[in-house]
């Protein structure tokens, strides 16, 4: 992160200690470029989340590159015990980003965990591939962490006058230890009524292939989570992983519960152009 530290300190100087901070300036950051790794789920099922991430990053003055050769990080195979198959896919991912030093932004906690925590372990220590994987891991940021920790921005200028709650996705929370960054961003949205739910850190029950291998347990866990969401009185549940949100949304729609899921990027993209 050769540029990150400097930018953080520069950005911090802009934030006034009292009163609401102005939305982050775009001028300071105009030279930054990032690669967006959009994840296969977002590409296929939730393209609006990817578009929102682009919109937010651009608003913050960041140029976004998208390499159209990208597919997946390898997580589905890895979590199911197919390391060899995961290694093939991870190798493809790494090949796209091995030769530059741009930060890689991923709008998903579990995919970012895969790249940062698990992919290096797929290659033997001391190998060239391991060195590449380590380098890519260091340059990879989950979306909310990138905005708060690298750009030093909390107030993105979005406005959303609704009651929302936040679900901590497990990999984001326990592999990447990210819990404050998304909350800071949510609290700074204009007009928002942010209600912490009880047990926000309890797993929603998705768990990758667990959701179909043990669909009954997965469903029971999801239903429990939905009770906590409903108890908070929120109309929207915000998350940083479309996989958790897909599971919760599937349950909510089946049960006709009027709570909507929203990715953090979609929330932050709610501003007037």
């Amino acid at each position: 992160m050769p540029f990150g530290v400097d930018l953080v300190s520069r950005q911090r100087q802009l934030v006034s200690p009292c009163g609401p901070a102005p939305p982050c300036s775009t001028v300071m950051l105009a030279t930054m470029r990032v690669s967006l790794f959009v994840t296969c789920l977002i590409d296929q099922l939730y393209p609006q989340v990817g578009l929102s991430a682009v919109k937010v990053l651009r608003k913050l003055g960041v140029s976004v590159d998208f390499d159209r050769r990208q597919t997946c990080c390898g997580q589905p195979a890895f979590n199911t015990g197919f390391a060899e198959e995961a290694r093939h896919v991870a190798r493809h991912m790494l090949s796209l980003y091995a030769d530059d030093d741009q930060p890689i932004v991923i709008p998903s906690g579990s995919c970012a965990s895969m790249v940062k925590v698990f992919v290096p372990g797929l290659f033997p220590e001391g190998s060239r591939e391991r060195a590449t994987a380590d380098k890519v891991a260091q340059r990879t940021y989950e979306f909310s962490d990138f905005i708060v920790s690298v750009l030093g921005c909390e107030r993105t200028g979005a406005s959303f006058p609704e009651a929302v709650t936040y679900h901590d996705s497990c990999h984001l929370l326990r592999e990447l230890h990210i819990s404050e960054q998304p909350r800071k961003l949510i609290r700074q949205v204009d007009g928002i009524d942010f209600r912490e739910m009880e047990n926000s850190t309890r797993c929603c029950g998705f768990g990758g292939t667990f959701a179909v291998k043990f669909e009954d347990v997965s469903t029971a866990m999801g239903e429990e989570k939905i009770r906590w969401i409903q108890n908070s009185g929120a109309r929207y549940v915000i998350g940083n992983d479309v996989s958790c949100l897909m599971h919760l949304d599937g349950l909510l729609r089946r049960k006709n519960i009027p709570v909507k899921t929203l990715h953090l990027a979609e929330l932050l993209a709610k501003f007037n152009d």
């Binding site: 590409d43 393209p47 990817g50 597919t71 198959e85 667990f210 669909e215 469903t219 866990m221 599937g250």
Partner: protein, 468 residues
């Protein structure tokens, strides 16, 4: 091979169990949070305990021999048992030699692991569980559903009904009356049994001390009234120094039962000495391997042996909270059970256990010795899949599917073609309600499918690029 799906289904359908789990586990969670918050250097203690365990496990043979030497020096006997049957044979022989027909037992998961009660009964020896929870489970012909709270799956009403049935107690919802009934029955057994069998929480190598942590005084009676005390201990329970006991006890009791310290901590140094009024005249320490040295062989997986059996990972596990302990159908339940069972047996014997987890990591977060349970689960999943592929002769369907997936995902061209095809077929899936095609059928049993977006992100992104 251990089958867990039927157990899971019945656990989910058991509304009384669901109620009991919810009630008990929410209470323990609040207590634990408080008990941990009181210790300012909790994280340091965890780190220290992990280091001590890592060190000990890496020099296990050395410390076990030191423990043996110091137990013998105090007049005790040490028995090395490679397998469960080896340990059982020793106990039967000893009982036979001494003419023992009844044994009082204090809680021991290792005893469960080697099916001690069933085997004792089969050999004509009556085992009496003296821990209240274990006693309840024994009366009901069940197995523990939790490492620390064996009868966690039962409500007090259910226990009352059981005692009324088996012991003739007038039904009551007064826990004190229930406990008093058990106490009265058990006292008789303590006075008439000539052998006491206990588990071991820690074996201190440098002093030859056996540490037994408990709350009811039943372990203390088991080791002081009968003339023979047999302690059974898994190899991994040895710690080098008495000095570290303070750290381990603090971590254990706060994490297990939210207590600053348990009501009794028994430090047992061998048998009764000349001039002492009570205590056994013979003391035997059985050191049992039963698969543990196999776990030791793998440098990553060996951290499984750091476990001090506090049971906290069960309490915080959303899967355990949902299905309880019996669904795991094995001695050890919850996250620690899911990693221990396939290793003590083999991945082939318990192929479902590593997959019965959402990998949420709450277990690792609470673990007093920071065992990386989710990462171990992943490693074990890999083992299971590799064994399945090696055994099947042909590619298992799941592996075939993920190989095809990997073939698609490693080529942008194939990925794009698949996307176009998928959108062609999308109409098949784009409906509300249940879908008959596996694996979608599993998903749609309780959930709606997401809608396949008409255009992918990359298409939309490029359209936008062209516009600007």
């Amino acid at each position: 091979m251990i089958e867990i799906r039927p157990q899971i289904r019945s656990a989910l359908a058991d509304s009384q169990l669901q109620k009991n789990l919810r009630l008990t586990l929410s209470k323990t969670a609040a207590g634990r949070r408080q008990a941990i918050a009181e210790v300012a250097n909790w994280e340091e203690l965890r780190q220290h305990a992990r280091q001590v365990k890592a060190h000990t496990i890496s020099r296990l043979g050395e410390y076990l021999e030191l423990l043996e030497k110091n137990v013998i020096a105090q007049g005790g006997n040490v028995v090395w048992a490679e397998t469960g049957p080896d340990a059982l044979d020793f106990i039967f022989q000893l009982a036979l030699e001494k003419g023992i027909r009844k044994v009082v037992k204090s809680k021991s998961m290792l005893g469960e692991e080697i099916r001690l009660n069933e085997e004792l009964e089969r050999n004509g020896i009556e085992p009496i569980e003296t821990d209240l929870g274990e006693y309840i489970v024994q009366l009901g012909h069940e197995h523990p559903s939790h490492i620390v709270f064996p009868a966690l799956h039962k409500s007090k009403e259910q226990v009352s009904a059981l005692f009324a049935d088996k012991l003739g107690m007038p039904p009551t919802d007064d826990c004190e009356k229930i406990t008093a009934t058990a106490r009265k029955v058990l006292r008789r057994h303590f006075l008439s049994a000539r052998m006491g069998i206990t588990g071991v929480n820690f074996g201190v190598a440098e002093t030859g001390t056996i540490v037994v942590v408990e709350n009811e005084g039943n372990a203390r009676l088991s080791v002081s009234v009968p003339e023979i005390h047999v302690a059974i201990m898994g190899l991994e329970k040895v710690i080098p120094r008495a000095e570290d006991l303070g750290v381990f006890l603090k971590l254990l009791t706060r994490n297990a039962t939210a207590q600053k310290i348990s009501t009794y901590v028994n430090l047992i140094n061998g048998k009764r000495r000349p001039g002492e009024l009570d205590g056994p005249s013979e003391f035997y320490l059985v050191l049992l391997d039963n698969g543990r040295t196999r776990i030791l062989a793998d440098e990553f997986l060996r951290q499984t042996l750091y476990c001090i059996r506090c049971g906290a990972c069960l309490d915080v596990c959303p899967v355990y909270q949902t299905i309880g302990g019996h669904a795991y159908h094995s001695t050890y339940q919850g996250p620690i059970g899911a990693i221990l069972t396939p290793q003590l047996l083999s991945a082939e014997d318990a192929p479902e256990h590593p997959f019965a987890s959402s990998l949420c990591g709450a277990c690792q977060e609470i673990c007093p010795v920071k065992i990386e349970i989710p990462h171990i689960l992943l490693k074990l999943r890999e083992k299971v899949q590799d064994q399945k592929s090696a055994r099947a002769g042909r590619l298992p369907l799941e592996r075939w599917g993920l190989q095809a997936w990997s073939w698609i995902m490693t080529s942008p061209g194939r990925y794009a073609t698949t996307n176009r095809l998928a959108r062609g077929f999308a109409k098949m899936f784009a409906r509300k309600g249940r879908n008959p095609v596996p694996p979608l059928s599993y998903w749609t049993k309780s959930r709606e499918l997401p809608v396949l977006a008409p255009k992918t992100f990359r298409e939309l992104f490029e359209e936008e690029e062209r516009k600007s």
